[in-house]
């Protein structure tokens, strides 16, 4: 890996760290982060595949509510770097997925540290506001965002500093039963993200939609876009019929809507 590649990796990691808190451009989502790491290291295809795999696991991870979601940014960046350095090619994807999980937990603690530091930063902003010094408020906002970027960039740089041979040996010494088992675990662990989302959204009136979606998905000819179109149409039809259905719909309407909306608001 040459110097330019190292710099580019750290830049990608920095972007992912910023986005991990901002949640706007989605550079922290594995699909984007792993692809970019793959791109700058010349392993584009490998990065794309790992990104797809991790994205499936991380679909339900969101910055909300009482349940703390694991950190996708560090998981994606670090496991992509390990995959590239390990040099096992596509065979290493299963292991990289397994390694990503403890990293996601580690990322969680790092973001908690930065969010605590940010408490001090907004107090500085208070003082600057009293002096009506808006430029300094801007600068402190940038510093806070930059700290979140460093949260991922520093661990990435540290990983890069480890010689490739060490990574290769560590991965190579892993018995096949362990890496095969982790690949199997990676296929199942997707369920956790879905379960988190369902727990947030489910109410009595939406379960039939879930059942229909599950049954339809067995038809392999239907692509995800087709399934999305069916789901959207069903929801629109349901709402349209309900508003035409007269007064009967009202009682069911109120009791059912209070549920998901109320739950989410309570978390804030």
């Amino acid at each position: 890996m040459n110097a330019i590649q190292v710099i580019l990796i750290v830049v990608v990691a920095f972007l992912a760290g910023m986005e991990g808190i901002l949640d706007q451009w989605q550079f922290h989502q594995p699909l984007v982060a792993c692809t970019l790491i793959g791109l700058v290291t010349g392993n584009l295809g490998l990065g794309v595949m790992l990104g797809g795999q991790l994205q499936m696991i991380a679909l339900g991870w969101a910055n909300i509510g009482a349940a703390v979601a694991p950190d996708a940014a560090l998981a994606a960046i670090a496991s992509a770097i390990i995959l590239v350095k390990g040099g096992q090619g596509t065979a290493g994807i299963g292991t990289a997925t397994g390694v990503a999980i403890p990293l996601a937990v580690a990322g969680l603690f790092l973001t908690m540290i930065v969010r605590t530091i940010s408490t001090a930063i907004v107090h500085i902003m208070d003082a600057e506001a009293k002096k009506s010094n808006w430029r300094m408020i801007n600068i402190w906002q940038w510093i806070a965002v930059a700290l979140q970027g460093l949260r991922i960039a520093i661990p990435a740089a540290a990983l890069l500093a480890i010689p490739s041979d060490t990574v290769k040996n560590a991965l190579g010494s892993m018995p096949t039963w362990l890496s095969a088992g982790m690949t199997i675990g990676g296929g199942m662990v997707v369920a956790v993200g879905y379960a988190m989302v369902i727990n947030m959204m489910a109410s009595r009136e939406v379960w039939p939609f879930f059942a229909i979606g599950f049954a339809f998905a067995a038809i392999q000819n239907l692509t995800l876009i087709a399934l999305g179109a069916i789901g959207l149409s069903l929801a629109l039809m349901y709402l349209a019929l309900e508003s035409k259905g007269g007064n009967n719909g009202n009682s069911g309407n109120n009791s059912a809507t209070g549920d998901p909306l109320g739950d989410v608001i309570d978390d804030y």
Partner: protein
């Protein structure tokens, strides 16, 4: 009087929208998005309050607690811009009115943003991209990135403009049924897609063999009787007939997975998801569940179950 009026033009409002992307940048445990909120408004406040004391007061009044969904902050910003503009032009709008609008809107709007963006749009667009990416298709991440950001930027801009035009009148629309409808519609579509995703992507394959039946002669391909070379390959393929003809082996093997699939494909994944939901409701940390699943994967693989 008209020439004295300070108003925010489109460029100012766009600048605010651009800044608002940093809303969560200084997210902190004390007042959450307050720093980002003040940062977002700075381009507007600077123009509205040329006087230093006024600007200082405005900055301080926007550094109080604020927290909502990062995208749904845009309509609130729009309304706040309208209010601040009126105030700068001499209307009697006190601090509590502005705070009231902010606090009144942030709760309900956060309740819309989470199900719509985090639970419906992102899982759908993410799964669409990921399902292509798993096979190494570069279009997967590109589609995800482009579609998501188009939706996002359009949403930030148009809802902020909507809030700015509607002003405080927006609070009346909010209590109406529209927002609830959007939230419920998103939940319905989200649940539909989740059902489909669980069927397609939670992969569990049980390998134990349930039965091994010998197929009678003539029901399977007799490999020894085939001509050699390419003709033999052709013969075998013809006899196999894409799985509709003769069997490949002497034995018909049925795994536990085949049995489960004949009930309903994806049943095991569904049950696993329900188990996870139950554990999460029992307040088990998702991280422990994830680690547990990996351990189960390795152990069951060693026992030849998976």
């Amino acid at each position: 009087m008209a020439d004295k009026k300070i108003s925010l033009n489109k460029a100012d409002r766009f600048s605010v929208m651009w800044h608002s992307q940093f809303l969560q940048g200084s997210w902190n445990y004390e007042r959450m998005q307050n720093g980002g909120w003040a940062y977002s408004l700075i381009p507007a406040l600077r123009k509205l309050y040329p006087d230093k004391a006024d600007l200082s007061a405005a900055l301080q009044r926007h550094l109080v607690f604020f927290n909502t969904h990062p995208y749904l902050a845009s309509p609130i910003i729009g309304v706040t811009l309208a209010l601040e503009e009126d105030r700068a032009n001499g209307s009697k709008i006190d601090d509590t009115a502005i705070q009231g609008v902010k606090v009144g809107m942030m709760g309900p709007l956060a309740g819309v943003g989470d199900p719509v963006f985090w639970y419906t749009v992102r899982p759908i667009v993410g799964a669409l991209g990921a399902s292509m990416a798993i096979n190494g298709n570069i279009l997967g991440p590109i589609l995800f990135f482009v579609i998501w950001n188009l939706i996002r930027i359009a949403f930030l801009w148009y809802t902020q403009e909507f809030g700015y035009r509607a002003g405080s009148a927006i609070t009346k629309d909010m209590s109406g049924g529209l927002l609830q409808k959007v939230t419920r519609g998103a939940s319905m579509m989200g649940m539909f897609v989740l059902g489909a995703l669980i069927q397609r992507w939670v992969s569990i394959k049980f390998v134990p063999i349930v039965s091994k039946v010998q197929i009678q002669k003539g029901g399977y391909i007799d490999w020894n009787a085939l001509p050699s070379g390419a003709a033999g390959v052709k013969d075998a393929l013809t006899q196999y007939n894409l799985g509709n003809g003769l069997a490949l082996d002497k034995f018909k093997v049925t795994t536990l997975q085949n049995n489960l699939d004949s009930l309903i494909p994806g049943l095991a994944g569904l049950l696993l998801t329900f188990l996870c939901m139950w554990l999460l409701k029992k307040k088990v940390s998702p991280i422990w569940i994830i680690i547990g699943i990996f351990v189960v994967g390795v152990v069951f693989h060693l026992w030849n179950i998976l």
